[in-house]
Symmetry: C2
Subunit: 419 residues, 2 copies
Amino acid sequence: MISPIEQKVLDAIDLPGLLAFLDQMVAYPSLGGNESPIQRFLAEQMPAMGLTVDVWQLDFAALRQHPAFSIEIERTEGLGVVGQMGQGDGRSLIFNGHIDVVPMGDPANWHYPPWRATLDEGKVYGRGALDMKGGLCCGLFAAKAIHDAGVQLKGKLLIESVIGEEDGGVGTLATILRGYQADAAVIMEPTQLMIAPAQAGALNFRITVPGHSAHGALRSEGVSAIEKFIPLYQAIMTFEAQRNAGVSDPLFAAYPIPYPICVGTLQAGNWASTVAESLTFEGRFGVAVGEDVTAARRAFEAMIQQAAQADPWLRQHPPVMSWWGGQFEPASIPADHAIVTTVGSAFTAITGSAPTLQGMPYGADMRLLVNNGATPTLMFGPGDVRKAHQPDEYVPLHDLEVTARTLALTALRFCGVVE
Amino acid sequence: MISPIEQKVLDAIDLPGLLAFLDQMVAYPSLGGNESPIQRFLAEQMPAMGLTVDVWQLDFAALRQHPAFSIEIERTEGLGVVGQMGQGDGRSLIFNGHIDVVPMGDPANWHYPPWRATLDEGKVYGRGALDMKGGLCCGLFAAKAIHDAGVQLKGKLLIESVIGEEDGGVGTLATILRGYQADAAVIMEPTQLMIAPAQAGALNFRITVPGHSAHGALRSEGVSAIEKFIPLYQAIMTFEAQRNAGVSDPLFAAYPIPYPICVGTLQAGNWASTVAESLTFEGRFGVAVGEDVTAARRAFEAMIQQAAQADPWLRQHPPVMSWWGGQFEPASIPADHAIVTTVGSAFTAITGSAPTLQGMPYGADMRLLVNNGATPTLMFGPGDVRKAHQPDEYVPLHDLEVTARTLALTALRFCGVVE
């Protein structure tokens, strides 16, 4: 299963070095908008890993023109960093990872230093250790092992360190506008070592329900926006149930609700004894793989409209709806695509187990590479996304090792080796 | 119906003077905590109206010891002002009015200057014109007319200008601790010229509903506090319906819901695509006339507890409830009390119409005078409380005139006249 050259490369994977490097990466508090220091650091480190480096300032004015441009944190500057190895005769491959992280939240909830990578009982803790400096580090150390083993790839391997994934994907979009494209890509987002050839879409929505204020002592003279929210919420839940009842995609069979609608925030009224004259709620609307986003939005809007029609007050005072923030299209590639089978066979060679193929329910940069970058992409990476954005975020050391080894083997097999 | 002495007093009521004085009163932005300038002004003006004046600094340390003490705006100082006339041989009577006003809100919503009293088509606009500088002004000008007509009251008439009604009633409580008590009192709150021998109670509550956060893409792994709010809200509405189904008090027959429960505010979650891990809502719980406040609170708590028991999650993670802010007891006096019949006959003498007796659904200082001040009290005053706390708050000129005249006649008849 594993050739001598492959074994040489696997033997060259420097796990202690990977951990030390991950610690250096986590030490950069690379929150959205503050990504340049770590990008410069990576660009400096890449040549020693056998990578030639392209570093450039993002052209936000140009990016803003692109239909897929999405940003929530305003930036005046940001760097693109792409490392490259391989002579360019075989198939090209991208390893993509974002280096922006979300805020650490209340430090009191952390039992480990958020801005260090701390190994404790097989888990590496730290903000971004999981999401997803760990995964990116695996890609870098896979390339480094190839280089250290003296092996040269036939096709090109590109390592993209991108900013702004958490707030819309501007960094990956910038690599596309820079001209980067490949025969396949792997994004090392946390998938618990599952291979994800599909990701669901997610559309943020906001709905404001009008009421009519009155003194609480005379509440029947007002109309409570809180009361009027309830039938809308129930209509949304019924809509979710209907949409999910028909899902037969085996990649999403593991999820109780493949494409959930989550109402996440709610705010109403301004005084305890005044009838609430307005209620605003926000949520995320899960879009199925293969579903047209525009059609999905229309169906959602029609459902809200219909629910409003059923209520005499809402019929006259319709809820006001908007789509804002993250508008993530779904994306998928064929489950028998060469990158899927290559990662799968590499995973089996490393672990002795068959790979699990599963769709991911969350949005990530995969949609940009697939839908805008003409690059068939899957997600495969260490750790469980449930720990992302949490205090004591962690990635299992075992997953880091399996990922680095699988990625190295994938690069060798997908790009080919100069004999 | 009206004696010559009474007619002399009624003829002495100076309506243009009242309007000019109301304008001066409205010009003081006497928001809670900023009441001393207008209190000093009134104390200066009272002697020319035939009133001897008691002005004192409130002793907040002593007030704080009283079980009925309630305050939402912290104050370092505040003035009590009570004017007095009459020789003290007959029945004593209090006219009570508060001079604190609520904030004007967004000035863009006003079509009249908020800090002037502007007469337009029979309505006097301005912050506090209705709630309740207008009513207090009527009391003052009733006294002034008695003085100007050269009539002397047998019993004592006390005019209490009090602070802090809007945030709990500290000013009226201070008059009680100062020793002021009378055979009856009239509070000139806006009742649309109805006589209110009863007021409902109101208790502010706050309930926090626990949930369990999860990524919105995996929402079935979390528990939405928003979802768990709905059965609690429905239980509250059922409880309200049950409590009001049995109300037979004719004083509250005019209200569709005599003792409403209003959920006024609601806040849940902190991110659109995260399952809300907590929801907090606030409201006011209407308490029936004659109902024991402690028993009412217990019934409410038991209902919430029972609703929580019906849900597997809430049974394990019960909602957290607290009583906060306004905790207003109900209050009432017999509908055939002498002050009720006296105001009623005076009203009929002035207007030619029978008075309407109606309970008021909102809390005011009446509870303090009745329950803590040993003074039988009703509310009777100009204008509609629905316009209170609103932009373009107004009081009808006609109501001011009827109130001033009815109060003058009430004082003459209740306190008696020195022949």
